[in-house]
């Protein structure tokens, strides 16, 4: 009876790691059509490799079986030719990787841009001071008290949005307005669960009223192209447009109070 041939453990491990790597690329880049960023893939693979190595080495037998071929490659006199080939190929691969990583390119370097700027405690707009800790949307109360009036306010906010904001943020509030492709960073996608749904209305009021130039100096330089809307819209219009943003996206502003 012949014994079933098994793939050597070292090869198994390498195949699993490569399999996961290419599965990520296949899934995101090909099937889903949204590429997986290199920085994220590197981090993902770091943990995948750690997990695979852990599974392959937690028993003594497993660890020995894994490192056995490597030991043999280094120590076994009969493997001289393979050893020489491996000892040439590995440094060459390392050199190639280093060269490709360090080679200057025409692409601008990556930047760790802070997307969510921290708001100040107070800010000035419309010639007065606003305290962000206590500032509330004066129209939010109508959502419960007078739904009909609230709908009117939302509609008015929608008009303000279509006339002023949709060019960048899009008529579906998804950040894909006609001008969006000309901007970097691209306009915020309000439909995303991680944007306005995470924020209080006072934060939105501050960002809209003071725009890019109103961003705090602590983490400069800012590269937002958001206009200073207090120069073009009234205070009321900003509050109404905020109502519209939440209403259209079906999100609720961040709040600490139970209903």
């Amino acid at each position: 009876m012949t014994q079933k041939r098994r793939i050597p453990r070292l090869l198994q491990m390498v195949l699993i790691i490569l399999g996961v790597y290419f599965s990520f690329i296949l899934l995101f880049d090909v099937v889903l059509g949204q590429l997986i960023p290199k920085s994220l893939l590197t981090m993902y693979m770091l943990f995948v490799v750690a997990g695979v190595v852990m599974v392959f080495t937690f028993t003594e037998e497993g660890a020995q079986e894994l490192v056995g071929p490597i030991k043999a490659l280094v120590e076994d006199p009969s493997k001289k030719t393979v050893r020489n080939v491996v000892f040439v190929i590995v440094p060459l691969l390392a050199g190639y990787y280093t060269y490709s990583s360090m080679m200057p390119s025409f692409e601008a370097p990556m930047e760790l841009r802070t997307i969510h700027p921290a708001p100040p405690t107070k800010f000035k707009a419309y010639g007065k001071s606003f305290n962000l800790a206590t500032l509330e949307n004066p129209y939010r109360k109508f959502q419960k008290e007078d739904p009909a009036k609230f709908s009117e306010l939302v509609k008015a906010g929608g008009d303000v949005y279509i006339q002023n904001c949709q060019y960048c943020h899009g008529d579906k509030l998804d950040g894909k307005g006609p001008y969006a492709s000309g901007l970097n960073p691209t306009p915020l996608n309000f439909q995303d669960v991680g944007t306005i749904a995470q924020l209080q209305e006072s934060f939105l009021f501050w960002r809209i009223a003071t725009g890019g130039p109103g961003l705090p100096a602590e983490a400069a330089p800012w590269i937002s192209s958001m206009p200073v809307w207090q120069d073009f819209l009234t205070e009321d219009e900003i509050w109404k447009v905020i109502l519209f943003l939440y209403d259209y996206t079906g999100r609720a502003p961040r709040s600490w109070a139970h209903e």
Binding site: K38, L40, A118, A133, D192, Q198, H258
Partner: protein, 604 residues
């Protein structure tokens, strides 16, 4: 006499809403009312406003960067302090277990742990002194301002330190004296007292730190108009207290785990190796047990920071410090993976482990998958071509993993499957003999399945389809589900394996050196993590000594680059680990007795 009222943490972020909204504004709004109420007291003590400083008000020493000096000393003090406060907690429990089981090995292990902490205690005190001198030297006006507000608690702190030293020395030096019968109870009582004083000391020091973040009973100019208790019981005091107590135990467990690994690797015979393997196992158990509730304590603290000030919350999780949370996620990943790996390696001590070995890979798959979710950032680091291809900084599919509901779901999976690793380890050497073993196993499988489905539903539905109140609140039933899985499963296991057959005697000491390095990794990751997160906690005050009322005007009143901060923390970690190795080494030489033949004069 100085007294602390009952310890009453705020239940959750939403409960804290009212004071949260009012807190930063308290400066203006509360001032007149508070001043009127506190009129009689104010007549007795008039506090000065927060000083408005200039660069010239900060003394300098040539060649010394004041911020880095205070930063490193404070961090080293905190690392040692955390260890010293934590060790008596589990020493007390281990000593109690020894008393209940009458197994002397537990008593010896508890003694060994407290022996290690004695040297660390001296280093904590030295570093504490150094920190006080550094603050007085480099930041005299800040120290004076805080000392005026906290004079009673600072004096109480100094007195309590005497009490702590006295109790610790009686507890340690009296260990072999207070043995057996009632004496052992007296000794255990000293252990309890030691813990009470240690925790009280930490709570007092926490109050000074949290006052700088969320000052209480002050007006806009920084004039203090309250009493000692109001200053202590500031908004973030209890959240920090809870977080630090839990984290300290996990951290202490990891450091004594590193101690056991150090002794295991330097053991000269099988007996020593077996002993330190057993000690290492217990230390890892302590670290994991405290690690399980730690993410929730951290989440509670962060939610409270956000509730206190959206500026602080956004700076922390979405702003300039957000990238450090990605490093934090990676380090927490390292913690969980190394703790699990140690457990899996530990199954090699048993002859029956082969039954569970094939299942380990499934646990590993879930752990790794949960980590991928755990550290996926919402805003991605993208090249320009990637940015163009994705159409923005958010990923259509991976973006959903970037917010807290996904992280909370992932961390609950991590905890549940880490517990499963522990269950497999416990079962590896046992065969259940009860007639209902199959039913018991089925009940456990059902429990895990239903629990995990519940965690996913809570995370997905409440996390993505409701408002933030429910989003934050859903984390509580998620945690409760995990806790129910752990507790009910433990109860079932306890009854199911009562009187179970051992496959064979456990081979203590039959552990690979790899597993010991996993214990080291646990300690180093913890240390580094505490340093980084400690920096973030302190750094979110940004250019304020005391948030929004006392401005930092020193040349270092800016938030340093993330790389710079990470380097300073890394240097601190290396210094601390070197000092810890020194402490371990001291414990090695203290047991050595060299007979110097012919050196001493023969006595008649």
């Amino acid at each position: 006499m100085f007294m602390l009222p009952a310890f009453t943490p705020v239940a959750n972020a939403s409960e804290a809403a009212a004071p949260a909204a009012a807190a930063p504004a308290a400066a203006e709004a509360a001032a007149p009312a508070a001043a009127a109420e506190a009129a009689p007291a104010a007549a007795a003590v008039v506090y000065p406003p927060a000083p408005k400083l200039t660069e010239a008000d900060y003394p300098t020493i040539k060649g010394v960067n004041a911020r880095v000096a205070v930063w490193l000393v404070a961090q080293l003090h905190l690392w040692f302090g955390a260890f010293v406060v934590a060790v008596p907690m589990f020493v007390f429990i281990i000593e109690s277990i020894g008393m209940m089981t009458r197994d002397e090995r537990y008593d010896n292990m508890a003694y060994e742990f407290i022996k290690v902490s004695i040297t660390a205690y001296s280093l904590t005190a030295i570093l504490g002194g150094l920190l006080s001198f550094s603050l007085v030297l480099f930041y005299p006006d800040l120290f004076k301002y805080l000392a005026l507000i906290f004079k009673e608690s600072m004096f109480a702190y100094a007195l309590l330190f005497f009490a702590e030293s006295a109790v610790l020395y009686i507890y340690y030096y009296g260990w072999h004296w207070l043995q057996g019968g009632n004496k052992k109870w007296v000794h255990l009582t000293f252990g309890l007292l030691l813990n009470a004083v240690g925790v009280l000391l930490m709570f007092l020091a926490n109050a000074w730190t949290t006052f700088m973040m969320s000052p209480a009973a002050v007006d806009a100019a920084g004039v203090f108009n309250g009493n000692t208790w109001e200053a202590i019981h500031n908004f973030l005091w209890n959240p920090i207290n809870i977080h630090r107590v839990v984290a300290n135990v996990a951290y202490g467990g990891s450091i004594v785990g590193a101690y056991a690994a150090f002794k295991f690797l330097s053991a000269r015979n099988n007996e020593e190796r077996a002993h330190y393997d057993w000690v290492g196992y217990n230390a890892n158990f302590i670290a994991i047990a405290a690690l399980l509730p730690l993410p929730f304590a951290g989440y509670y603290l962060t939610a409270e920071m956000y509730a206190y000030s959206q500026q602080m919350g956004i700076t922390l999780m979405g702003g300039v410090f957000a990238w450090i949370f990605i490093i934090q996620a990676v380090l927490i990943g390292a913690l969980f993976l190394s703790a699990n790996y140690y457990l899996w390696c530990g199954m090699g001590r048993s002859e029956g482990a082969y039954r569970y070995n094939p299942r380990i890979k499934y646990i590993a798959i879930v752990l790794v998958a949960a980590f991928l979710v755990w550290f996926t950032p919402h805003t991605l680091v993208l090249t320009n071509s990637e940015l163009k291809s994705l159409g923005g900084p958010y990923h259509a599919y991976l973006g959903v993993f970037g917010i807290m509901p996904a992280k909370n779901t992932a961390v609950n999976f991590l905890l549940t499957f880490t517990f499963m690793s522990f269950m497999f380890y416990r079962r590896a050497n046992k065969v259940a003999t009860v007639s209902w073993a199959t039913t018991g196993n089925a009940a456990q499988i059902a429990l895990f399945t239903v629990g995990l489905i519940n965690i996913v539903i809570l995370g997905v539905y409440y996390g993505y389809f409701t408002n933030t109140v429910y989003k934050v609140a859903a984390s509580i039933p998620q945690v409760l589900t995990t806790l129910i899985i752990i507790i009910v499963s433990t109860v079932i296991d306890t009854f199911m394996y009562k009187g179970a057959k051992d496959v064979a005697p456990l081979h203590w000491g039959r552990m690979s050196t790899r597993s010991q390095y996993a214990l080291f990794l646990l300690a180093v990751s913890f240390t580094w993590l505490m340093g980084l997160m400690g920096y973030v906690r302190s750094g979110i005050r940004q250019h304020w000594h005391v948030s929004n009322i006392f401005r930092d005007a020193s040349p270092d009143a800016y938030t340093p680059g993330l790389g710079y901060a990470a380097n300073i923390v890394s240097i601190g970690t290396i210094i601390f680990m070197a000092m810890v190795i020194f402490v371990f080494w001291l414990s090695t030489i203290s047991g050595k007795h060299v007979v110097a033949k012919g050196y001493w004069k023969e006595q008649a």
